[in-house]
């Protein structure tokens, strides 16, 4: 295994650790989905997929990143922190005066391209940003993480349709396909059908990857071609709660934080 892969796996482990600690301190928040996307976030931000020069004078040249399923923001905050965004300041999630709002807030953190929380909105803002970049003939791309549950919102499909209409090949959706939402499995709660087929039918290029095998994630994103007039979807098959055994695939951990006992158990597991 290459050194890079090993390093990225380490980053993912650190992100899981930071997320768990952040949520434990906050006493509330979305743990399961945050853990499930740790490998993807490590690959995107530390694996050379998203161009993200956060130093002031280069910030305009960044690829845009939108977390449309805003509730898993702890993993995004942990990522920004590991990138050095917050410097030495250690803000506390969900507490008064902290920029780390319970759902990502544009007016609190510059790197949050748009405030998200209500599902089905960030995807549309991502379309708007991709359109804006095209109209200005800029070559940056827009990456947007969306959840499977978010595809129960009608406005999500409005965004998907319009992205293909405007031929936004600079737009990449990453679908966190963990098959779980707050009330149970996505198949029981709703009727999503075959998401890959639905996207293809509307004019998107669709890629699929296991969301936890680092070489496969990197390979998949390398295959995502650029200028072909079609928006791209990467479906990441993930396990909610990945990395902490008792959280994995248990939808009850969608919307809650670890208590002291759970926190200690989780941290022990993550240190192994």
């Amino acid at each position: 295994m290459s050194i890079k892969i090993k390093q990225l796996e380490n980053v993912a482990r650190n992100l899981r650790h930071d997320t768990t600690e952040m949520l434990y301190r906050a006493g509330s928040g979305h743990w399961g989905g945050s853990l499930g996307m740790a490998d993807i976030f490590a690959a995107l931000f530390f694996g050379g997929i998203i161009y993200y020069p956060w130093k002031k004078n280069q910030w305009n040249r960044r690829d845009r990143f939108i977390l449309s399923c805003g509730h898993i923001c702890p993993i995004f905050y942990a990522t920004l922190d590991r990138l050095g965004f917050f410097g030495d300041k250690k803000a506390i999630l969900r507490k008064l005066g902290s920029p780390l709002q319970g759902h990502p807030s544009h007016i609190h953190i510059e790197a949050v391209e748009t405030s998200t929380g209500p599902l089905g909105q960030g995807v549309g803002v991502a379309v708007g940003k991709a359109l804006a970049l095209k109209m200005q003939k800029k070559k940056q791309r827009v990456f947007c993480v969306t959840s499977d549950g978010e595809h129960e919102e009608g406005s999500t499909w409005e965004a998907i349709s319009s992205a293909a209409k405007f031929k936004l090949d600079n737009l990449i959706f990453i679908l966190d396909r963990n098959h779980l939402q707050i009330g149970g499995s996505t198949e029981e709660v709703a009727n999503l059908g075959n998401l890959a087929e639905r996207y293809r039918f509307l004019g998107w290029d669709v890629f699929q990857t296991n969301g936890h095998i680092m070489p496969e994630i990197l390979d998949t994103f390398r295959k995502v071609k650029r200028a072909n007039g079609r928006p791209k979807l990467v479906i990441a098959e993930t396990t909610m709660g990945k990395g902490v055994s008792f959280v994995e695939n248990d939808y009850r951990y969608h919307g809650r934080a670890p208590n002291e006992e759970e926190y200690k158990k989780a941290v022990t597991e993550l240190r192994k």
Partner: protein
């Protein structure tokens, strides 16, 4: 022959606010490269077909998907463009409230939302298409500037002001060709009332198409020796508190007229403000917690009691009350 000439003159005088929007946005785009027009399949109704012709690369047809139109506009604004979304008031804001609240207002995104066909006076389309709560919705969202211009030229000025300022704006107007109150040279300042006539007995405050009815009502009241003033308030938010407080102190009685629900409209805004600063007797001419229906505009305005005679009656009623 003479009759025909005056008829033609009258026809020329009547113009729609939506035409004002279409004409002004076209004029603005010639100078301001950042302006983008989005439409949710209502290009002709909003009078932006000409804009599409002249600026095909600045025009985005979003289809019948208002929620997405607003989110996309937010994305464009956050990247530096000045997007104007074009639809009916019943669709924007009503069908995209969460998008307006979070993606536009909470983000402080520089989006301009144009809602046409507001009020019961759109007539034939019926209750589903008569926005009567749009101002209430938008007033309750922090940081949104709200314009409700009274005629063609004021709409042009409002659109111009919206393009110039930074921040979310909602521009609301009706559908029809209406009498002109202002002209090309009438000043327009954000948050500033336009005093059309001063009066001693009391003041009638109105926005949109009700301004014309307020002027007619004042003439009627004058016959009864009542000297009412008329104020056109094209900016609903921020409220011109200074002028309102001055007039409250001077004239002691208000009648507030609008083609909108009483709940959350201009009347509500003025009452909230004066209740804290200087309470005076007020009468409201507005829709009283009802849906509209199909019909001719004039008949609906009468049936839902927002007509000239309702303003006159309200004027008389308020005279019988004391501070």
């Amino acid at each position: 022959m003479k009759n025909l000439q005056s008829e033609i003159k009258n026809l020329q005088l009547k113009m729609s606010c939506r035409q004002g929007y279409g004409d002004e946005i076209l004029a603005l785009a010639k100078k301001n490269k950042k302006i983008i027009v989005l439409s949710a399949d209502l290009m002709d109704s909003l009078r932006v077909a000409e804009f599409k012709k002249k600026f095909p690369n600045k025009f985005l047809e979003m289809g019948v998907s208002e929620a997405n139109m607003i989110s996309v506009a937010a994305g464009l604004a956050l990247e530096g463009f000045v997007p104007f979304t074009s639809s009916f008031a019943v669709f924007t804001p009503n069908q995209a409230v969460s998008q307006i609240r979070v993606s536009v207002a909470y983000n402080k995104a520089n989006v301009k939302i144009v809602g046409s066909h507001a009020g019961v006076s759109i007539g034939a389309d019926g209750a589903t298409h008569q926005a009567l709560e749009d101002i209430a919705i938008m007033r309750a969202i922090p940081g949104v500037t709200i314009f409700a211009p009274a005629d063609y030229w004021q709409t042009r000025r409002a659109v111009r002001a919206a393009a110039k300022m930074n921040g979310p704006v909602y521009i609301r107007f009706g559908r029809g060709d209406i009498e002109q109150i202002t002209n090309e040279k009438t000043p327009f300042k954000i948050g500033e009332a336009q005093i059309l006539k001063k009066g001693k007995s009391g003041t009638i405050i109105a926005h949109g198409e009700s301004v014309h009815r307020a002027l007619l009502a004042v003439a009627e009241l004058a016959k009864e020796k009542l000297d009412f003033g008329v104020v056109n308030l094209p900016t609903i938010k921020p409220l011109d508190e200074k002028t309102i407080l001055n007039l409250a102190r001077k004239t002691k009685r208000f009648v507030i007229a609008e083609d909108h629900q009483l709940t959350g409209g201009l009347g509500s805004a003025v009452a909230e403000f004066l209740a804290e600063k200087y309470a005076i007797p007020m009468e409201f001419v507005a829709i009283r917690d009802k849906f509209g229906e199909s019909g001719e505009a004039e008949k609906l305005v009468k049936k839902y009691h927002i007509d000239t005679e309702d303003i006159v009656e309200a004027g008389k009623r308020v005279m019988g009350r004391k501070r």
